[in-house]
């Protein structure tokens, strides 16, 4: 029996395939990559939207807020007034409605005010001093970023209070003063020199500042009203929209009569019209642009209509005739007008036999404003009459916001302030011969690739779930006052809404890639929560992990062999 034992079969299977190298079959390899979401891509401030939405969903509320204020110190403001292009580009829009990013931003902004959360304090103090001219969102955003980095900032503001158009133009029913005040107060805690009632008037004045400060940021907005020649030789009361809105915001009650025609198609026009409604007038809005081309935020246009504004899109005033003593007849005609990015003065084509008349006691003009460039060097003024970005950066002179752009939005102004701040820092570091600060910034950037497309989202994982909208407050429906119209979301609503986010391009450690690998080539790093890597020894490059990542956070990269 002993003899035999040696000859008894040896071909039982006793080894394991994990010594095999099936990775050699592969022609492509998945890589984990933090990719841009379309919302972030279009967001003017490049907000880390998927990240803070994820934090919000997991009820890490302060963390979520801190993620926002890293780039935008005014979420309670932008949560109300931002034109939110992020939502228009949101991948979920193609599925069951965009994620209500804007209302969630408001939720966090309001919560921070309620909880008294503070902005991060400067981690160091620097010697360099920077002058910021203009205390609107652009100037304040720049000041904030510089201060965060430790620089000494002086803000020069013509008005007795900070905020620019946020304070003096955007109506109370959309942006309560108290909200702005709280966010400004919190910002100022970081320590700034603020010179109010200090208008930079002359070139000498300005040059003086340039000498005293290492760099200057100019964001003076656009306040020079354009006028309409057709209305010039009339006794009729013609209001400049910013004057009208500013008076109302100060609590005054300008005499606009009973019938008001607002001319213009931007936010200023709609705000003027809705404000006039609240003063008891019947309001008509006349715009050159067609409905689809209106520069105003669409929800504003819709809300105005609901409140009783009568729109005349694609029309213009040709003249005015008095009716009796207090009223006038506006002569109007239908036109075709196509706004253009390239042509600052696009053609207006009058349509024959379309004349009509509108009666008005007064007119509010909201047809655009230009910056007052008097105090600034002529080299800084571009051909189109704006302050030119990038023209004098090498001399420490930076510009932003409405005064340098026709892209006139609060978030665009904040973005300008932020981006110019990093250029200013770079400039000042460059003067000192060091630039490592900016490199750090680079590392945190998402990989520069195409934003995640809807087709890359695996919608199976997201059961249909309609968007939660902000409700219109019933008591403010009456047009009787200026109370805020829309109610913010409750915490439960906010968390539910945030859970709709696909987190495009942003791994949320859902483990799908791990579970769907037939070769178990995806491993979780047990010590580093939420990190995954691919075992090259085994990965066959099938792409299942890529396909089953609900959010495009894994991509296949061809491998040359």
């Amino acid at each position: 029996m002993e003899v035999l034992k040696k000859e008894i079969p040896t071909i039982w299977t006793t080894g394991w395939t994990d010594i095999m190298n099936t990775g050699t079959w592969r022609s492509a390899m998945p890589i984990y990559q933090k990719r841009k979401s379309p919302c972030q891509d279009i967001c003017p401030v490049n907000g880390e939207i998927p990240t803070w939405l994820q934090n919000l969903k997991s009820e890490n509320l302060e963390e979520a807020w801190l993620e926002i204020v890293a780039k935008n110190p005014f979420p309670a403001v932008t949560g109300r007034v931002c034109h939110h292009p992020c939502e228009s580009k949101c991948n979920r829009k193609e599925y069951d409605g965009e994620v209500g990013i804007n209302s969630l931003e408001q939720f966090l902004g309001d919560l921070a005010i309620e909880k008294g959360w503070s902005l991060p304090k400067p981690s160091q103090e620097m010697e360099e001093r920077v002058a910021v001219i203009g205390g609107g969102p652009a100037g304040l955003s720049c000041a904030y970023q510089l201060r965060k980095a430790g620089y000494q900032v002086t803000i020069f503001e013509e008005q007795p209070e900070l905020g620019g158009l946020l304070r003096f133009a955007i109506p109370e029913y959309r942006l309560p003063k108290a909200v702005l005040a709280k966010e400004l107060e919190r910002l100022l805690e970081l320590g700034f020199n603020v010179e109010l009632n200090r208008k930079i008037i002359t070139k000498e004045d300005f040059e003086q500042l340039r000498r005293e400060y290492s760099a200057v940021f100019v964001a003076v907005g656009a306040y020079k009203a354009k006028s309409l020649p057709q209305l010039e030789n009339t006794a009729m009361k013609v209001w400049f929209c910013l004057d009208f809105l500013a008076q109302v915001k100060k609590g005054e009650k300008p005499d606009i009569g009973r019938k008001v025609v607002v001319i213009g198609g931007g936010n200023a026009a709609i705000d003027s019209a809705r404000t006039a409604l609240r003063l008891g007038a019947k309001v008509k809005v006349l715009s050159l642009e067609d409905r689809a081309d209106l520069p105003a935020i669409n929800t504003e246009v819709v809300d105005g209509e609901r409140e009783g504004i009568i729109y005349y899109h694609g029309a213009m005033v040709t003249g005015v005739e008095p009716i009796g003593t207090d009223s006038y007849m506006l002569k109007c005609v239908k036109v075709v007008f196509k706004p253009s990015d390239t042509d600052r003065f696009p053609k207006t084509v009058v349509l024959k036999d379309t004349e009509f008349e509108l009666q008005a006691d007064s007119v509010i003009l909201a047809i655009g404003q230009e910056p007052d460039t008097t105090p600034f060097p002529s080299e800084l003024v571009s051909a189109v009459g704006l302050l030119g970005s990038g023209l004098m950066e090498n001399q420490g002179l930076f510009v932003g916001g409405d005064s340098s752009s026709l892209n006139r939005y609060v978030s665009a102004a904040i973005a300008d302030g932020k981006n110019q701040a990093s250029k200013i820092i770079e400039y000042m570091k460059g003067n000192k011969g060091a630039s490592e600060g900016n490199q750090n910034e680079q590392v945190n950037q998402t990989v520069d690739s195409e934003p995640v497309k809807f087709s890359e989202v695996n919608t199976f994982y997201f059961p249909i779930m309609p968007k939660v909208n902000r409700e219109i407050r019933s008591e403010s429906n009456s047009l009787s006052g200026f109370a805020e119209i829309k109610a913010g979301l409750s915490q439960a609503e906010a968390i539910q809404e945030s859970s709709r986010c696909f987190s495009c391009g942003h791994c949320i450690s859902c483990n799908n890639c791990f579970y769907f690998c037939p070769d178990q080539a995806v491993v979780k790093n047990s010590d580093l929560c939420g990190e995954y890597h691919i075992l090259e020894q085994y990965c066959k490059g099938c792409g299942l992990c890529v396909e089953e990542c609900p959010r495009g956070a894994v991509t296949l990269k061809e491998e040359a062999r």
Partner: protein, 289 residues
């Protein structure tokens, strides 16, 4: 909210196996074996599973596996279970992992008999709807009209409903599952593991080459099979208690059929007929609940 998985796994199935890239069957084996755990003996007949389980002396399954003949899986598994039991090793699971050919066709006699004897085994059919190991010939699990190398004009007859046949044996547990729903699949394995007697689970496992599906699509295709109602996920306890585990999202069968080149010759009328058939089947199934 979002669908996500949390699947407890004990690594029994190993990397380095020979399955095609993206293979649905390999994925199923991962969930099944890693859920059953190491106190298991496997039985594998000739099939892709046998290839995946590895060439001697290397096994991809860190449990004893006995490779049996094509028609004998259920009997072989029964032999092991009985031999373990008489040795007092009653805690060990015995699982047969067979293809559809080895289950619906040539192995059906042994399977039916094991069910009748209520053998204390778990029999899992990895249904890739054809004899794939031999080059994609039809089996009685191949659906109506599907192209295979032995039905080049499309299969003239329909798919055998093996789950219903097994339910008719009134065994403790019959279930359907697929890789697109790993939580459901593993829950069923866990449930089966806790039970005694004959347990039968048919797992739809898309075969990429055999169905004409790209490497990355096995999971998606398997999910569509469920969400169209073509392969509903349900379980039957003791042949009586029916539970539909996932309400199909009502996606038209066309969406599913289009993902696979084995169906590319289908006419609109044929697709409509399949749709009607699926609707009828879903109605019957709902009525049984």
């Amino acid at each position: 909210m979002m669908i996500s998985y949390n699947i407890p796994e004990e690594k029994v199935f190993l990397s380095g196996h020979n399955a095609c890239p993206g293979c649905g069957e390999a994925l199923a084996l991962r969930y099944i074996l890693n859920t059953l755990g190491p106190e298991t003996v496997g039985v594998v007949p000739p099939s892709c599973i046998a290839i995946i389980s590895g060439p001697q002396p290397y096994s991809s399954m860190r449990i004893p596996v006995y490779q049996t003949t094509l028609e004998a899986s259920a009997a072989s598994a029964a032999g092991i279970k009985r031999a373990l039991d008489v040795q007092g090793k009653t805690q060990v699971n015995v699982v047969a992992l067979a293809g559809d050919g080895g289950t619906y066709d040539i192995g059906f006699q042994a399977l039916s008999a094991a069910a009748e004897r209520n053998e204390d085994i778990i029999y899992i059919c990895l249904d890739n709807e054809g004899y794939m190991n031999t080059g994609a010939q039809k089996s009685s699990a191949t659906p109506w009209l599907a192209y295979t190398t032995s039905t080049p004009g499309g299969k003239p007859t329909g798919k055998k409903n093996v789950a219903e046949i097994m339910a008719a044996h009134e065994i403790p547990y019959v279930a359907t599952a697929t890789v697109g729903f790993p939580d459901d699949l593993t829950a069923k394995i866990r449930k089966a593991k806790e039970m005694k007697g004959m347990r039968f689970i048919v797992v739809l496992t898309p075969c990429l080459a055999g169905w004409g599906v790209p490497d990355s699509q096995a999971v998606r295709v398997s999910r569509l099979a469920v969400d169209t109602g073509i392969f509903p996920l349900y379980e039957v306890e003791n042949g009586r208690k029916y539970t539909l585990n996932w309400e199909p999202r009502g996606i038209p069968v066309d969406t599913y059929l289009r993902t696979q080149s084995r169906y590319k010759h289908l006419t609109a009328d044929q697709i409509e007929e399949i749709q009607q058939e699926v609707n009828r089947n879903m109605t019957y199934l709902r009525e049984k609940q």
